[in-house]
Amino acid sequence: MLSIKNLHASIDGKEILKGINLEIKEGEVHAIMGPNGSGKSTLAAVLAGRSEYDVTEGEIIYNGKNLLELEAEDRAREGVFLAFQYPVEIPGVSNINFLKTAIGEIRAYKGLEPIKAKDFLMMLKEKQELVEIDRALVRRSINEGFSGGEKKRNEIFQMAMLEPKLSILDETDSGLDIDALRIVANGVNKLKSEENATIIITHYQRLLDYIIPDFVHILHNGKIVKSGLKELALELEEKGYDFIKEEVEA
């Protein structure tokens, strides 16, 4: 589904990603862990198409298409979903109206008929229950006045509504207390299928107790320096990131 080859990216002339290689197949869950500043969020931003980042080398092939040639909105329409680390607030625009517009645009892109109002409302109700989000939040303006935890839960709700093929969860666990973390993980697990794939970007191991990854990659200084199975995350938590730094620099 996704093939990243020798990806180099920089911002304001400063190179952040220094040759990333990653293969992701349908149905897989990949965790990307790393210390602050290792390039985790940059990778998410480059995949989603943030224009501040310059891709200087390498390629990203997504379902046979050159992802780097697509505009940000077209990537979204092709099924790439980014759950933001810091979701922005958009005053005055209700979640419902926002999602209706987004679904409308995505369907138009695919040449599909607009969704019927009745079907949309059914879907809204169904997904609300699936990810256990408060109805009142759904009716409010996007993220406006939401607590950090509520914003993260809203991201997962949007993910449920837009039914993406590739979901990138950028530090979705930060700011969530343990109860909220369980609910969010539960939602993500329910949305998993044989057809879609998930990338979990996280600094801590805790989320991976609840969403079990198939593969764990450790990002350090813009490169994946170690890959392994889920046990790698535990090892990392126990020994701390310094051990990776020492291992790499040794």
């Binding site: 810091y86 607030e89 006045g145 607590s147 950090g148 935890g149 930060s174 700011g175 969530l176 207390d177 343990i178 600094h203 801590y204 191991q205 805790r206 938590e237």
Partner: protein, 433 residues
Amino acid sequence: METVIKTRTIKDKLIFEFENSKLFLFGSTQLRDNAMESFYKQGIPTRKHEEYKYTRVDLMLKGEFDFSTNKNCSDAQIQPLKFLKDAYVVVIENGVFVEGSSNVENLPKGLTVCSLVDAEKSNSPVFEKHYAQYADVKTDPFIALNTAMTKDGAFIHIAKNVIIEKPIHIIHISTTSVNTIIHPRNLIVIDENAQAKIIESFETISATAKTVSNALTEIVVDKNAIVDHYKIQDEKELGYLVNTTQVIQQRQSVFSTHTFTLSGSLVRNNLTVVLDDEHIESHLNGLYLTVGNQVVDNHTVVDHRKPNCNSNELYKGIIEGKSTATFNGKIFVRKDAQKTNAFQSNKNILLSLAGTINTKPQLEIYADDVKCSHGSTTGKLDEAKIFYLRARGIGLVNAKKLLMHAFASEVVNTIKIEALREYVEEKISKTFE
């Protein structure tokens, strides 16, 4: 010329007591001497001090006071105050940690709960790193006084990545039979990616004399940590409380604090939350119910020092009789703190003509890309709503109670520990009787 012989002021007495009891006091000599010097310079605030102009702490300190602290009450008396059945409990009686009454055995890995005295004795590096680092003696005379004269309190530490799901309950009890001034002090440190729920309650048992509690708690919330903090202040007529809470938050942490002032002759809360890094979230909630001649004063400071943080403040009050409630909410948005979101709301219901409300939102914004709002309302119970309820057969008294409950519930519902929420709800119902 006539010579005037001045009676000794409370300030003189405090200094005298400080010099006399040095051996029993807590903390390093240098720290205490420095704090006392600072107190000496500041003095007891009078109404001329801008920060204390609505609350006469000088009058509170009139009269004779004893400075010794004794244990007076039995475990059986303390038992009802342990209203959370499933919690780690720390009992501080008249400012001193009482191990026998506390429930701190079999602590899980990563949780430390002990007295400040023990924490110092054991040379805890966490204690040494954080003790008296955040509440600045120069900013407030009560901070100075506490730092100089505290004898004990609780030390709580939660290690990195550890989640403590059971609440930790600190019970402050005053049980004195002579007028007393005490200075309990707590240090709470929550390390990176850890989570905890802390409750501080303030009570009086069998007290027959006035107790002035000058309590201070410092809370350190490290990176990515999530902390829920509650204060339940219920000290009855003889209780006078100055309660300083000083919080420092690190990157991506979430701190929520909830202050419920249910009784006490005079309660002054000084709550300061410093957002010292990016992507921090802070919630400050408060509810005060004042009756009779009670004085309740909430001073809060939210200090946004770095970009991309959120703070949200909601304080509500119901004022009856000749009581006075003050809310002074300061929000600093420092020059670097771009993209700050800071919200503040203070709502009051004034039930009597003789009651007084002073509300003063203060926004000091030095960054240009920020979203801040403040709102403040003071009003009576809505006559139209009361009439509506009466028209449905609900009597006047109950109609009023119902509306007051509805008003308070916005704050009460922010309590995440169910047993605590029920306890507070019950207390509120009693107040409305």
